[in-house]
């Protein structure tokens, strides 16, 4: 039953993809000779003017270009011409570093705030004010204080991924069932052991959900951050290819950003499943 449902859903997905590619192809193909002009002039004007071809690349152009990129993902021909693998690698490294720093701060801090009603109330106004600030608004301040564009990008990732993790950890820790805490209390379990053996496993699904939201936001923000700081990364690649007017490469980059984002989300989803317990 479920396998047949999966099969049918997969079939519908393929049909939809084929329809999308088909429409895209039809919309951007050449319509034949539109104007007659001298061959020299025609060469200058390009296919858009002579053959009625859309300036938007078709799926076949994008496919060919993508294949080219996939065959050589790690080439490095200088600052403005690096393989997509290298660019994605830079972005993933920045996200990974900023995110890891955020995990190291948010989870212990969230534990502290969640276990202490005093800290929870005292820090609440700060969190409420800091949370809605767009991470990119921090960029000038980061550039001015850190004086390094690459580290500033990591800082921006750090600041944007900390809030969902912090808030979810606080919520998860504060809402651990009273009866589980009471079990630990009647067994004279100390605070540290209680934190690790009762509160952490009980709050883990909520914490992991926060981490999953954070990685999504971090991946959204890195593209914009790299467009600003420049140099390397998939965000810089997108902007650079826009300056080169290579819409094909922009589309490829968009596709890859989506795929990498999905993979990051899947990894966190798997971790979440690992710590989720049925009740």
């Amino acid at each position: 039953m479920t396998s047949s449902l999966r099969l049918r859903a997969g079939l519908v997905s393929i049909v939809l993809l084929a329809a999308f590619l088909g429409i895209w192809h039809l919309a951007t193909r050449s319509t034949g000779t539109t104007t007659t002009m001298s061959p020299e002039y025609a060469k200058l004007m390009g296919l858009t003017a002579t053959q009625g071809k859309s300036a938007m690349p078709g799926p076949l152009d994008v496919g060919a270009k993508l294949w080219e990129h996939l065959r050589r993902p790690f080439y490095d021909n200088g600052p403005n011409d690096k393989g997509l693998g290298i660019q994605l690698g830079y972005s993933i490294a920045r996200v990974g570093l900023g995110y890891l720093l955020a995990v190291l701060v948010a989870i212990p801090l969230g534990f502290l705030i969640g276990m202490s009603p005093l800290l929870s109330k005292a820090l609440d106004p700060f969190i409420q004010v800091l949370k809605p600030i767009s991470p990119l608004a921090w960029m000038p301040l980061a550039l001015y204080t850190i004086k390094d564009s690459s580290i500033s990008a990591i800082f921006v990732i750090f600041i944007c991924s900390i809030w969902p993790m912090l808030l979810n950890t606080v919520f998860g820790v504060a809402s651990v069932r009273k009866e589980w805490i009471n079990v630990a209390r009647t067994l004279e379990v100390g605070t540290v052991r209680r934190a690790f053996t009762v509160i952490l496993p009980a709050a883990a699904p909520t914490i992991l959900t926060g981490m999953r939201i954070s990685i999504g936001i971090a991946w959204l923000v890195i593209v914009a951050a790299e467009m600003l700081v420049g140099g390397t990364g998939i965000g810089y690649f997108v902007w650079n290819e826009w300056n080169n007017l290579s819409i094909t490469n922009v589309i490829i980059a968009i596709l890859l950003i989506g795929i990498v984002g999905m993979l990051l989300d899947q990894v966190l989803a798997r971790f979440t499943r690992m710590v989720t317990f049925p009740e």
Binding site: E179, N182, T186, F277, P278
Partner: protein
Amino acid sequence: MTDKFISIEGIAKRYPGASGATTTIFENLWLSMARGEFACVIGHSGCGKTTVLNILAGLDAPSEGAVIVDGQAISGTSLDRAVIFQSHALLPWRTVLGNVAYAVSSKWRNWDRAKVKAHAQTFTDLVGLSGSEHKRPSELSGGMKQRVGIARALSITPKMMLMDEPFSALDALTRGTLQDEVRRICLETGQTAFMITHDVDEAIYLADKIFLMTNGPGAVLAEVVENPLPRDRGRIDLHRHPLYYALRNHIIDFLVTRSKTFTTEMSDHDPRNVPLVQIGKPGLTIAAGSDEPRQTWMPGTNPGLSA
């Protein structure tokens, strides 16, 4: 009183109410239990039974008064007093054995893994869960979950067991089996037990002493009823005992009518010397009188319950 293993001395519990007023759940409550005794508390919801149990467990602190266990005033929770929770409170991310082992390793912190496991296994077997050790609580029925709760409480070999309506969420058949188990285990290990219940028959079957509490707020311990049934009572012929219905009717009368009116009628009630009711013994609070026909109950006749 003779041996006071547990002595609750004048405890009160008050909560701050609206506009500075305080709500008193109960006050000046005195109660004592001997070692190895099984006591049940009966009373309507809101009379503070659970609060008394939580204070005994150390999960809650009284607003006034003290609790003395084995000659020492208690402060906070202790591994000497195991609690069996109404909602069984198992840790769902641990297996059956893991839940019991958690308690074992909390009591004996320097034991190695194998020793903890073997000890936990003994108590898992004791409650009849052999073969289900590696299941998670979500895979167990309500009765099996509560068995794990009992195994966890017993595994730390406490001085006393505190049970907060442990069987109220179970179906009648499972409840019966678990009552048998608890009774057997408590008798075998000489455990002192304090149980809250709503079930009159459960109290009669399990308890040596039944504490009757009036309605809250401002609840008092009205009477201590001594269970006249023999210690080696069996579930099947419990109701054939000549004093069974007298005892049952006394408790039900209390729950139905006297728990409401007790405080207004008994103005000379001394909370430090709560009357001890010994059913069927002449010259005491409950004379044979009106209960006589019920005591001569024969199979096949309707005992005429007042409830």
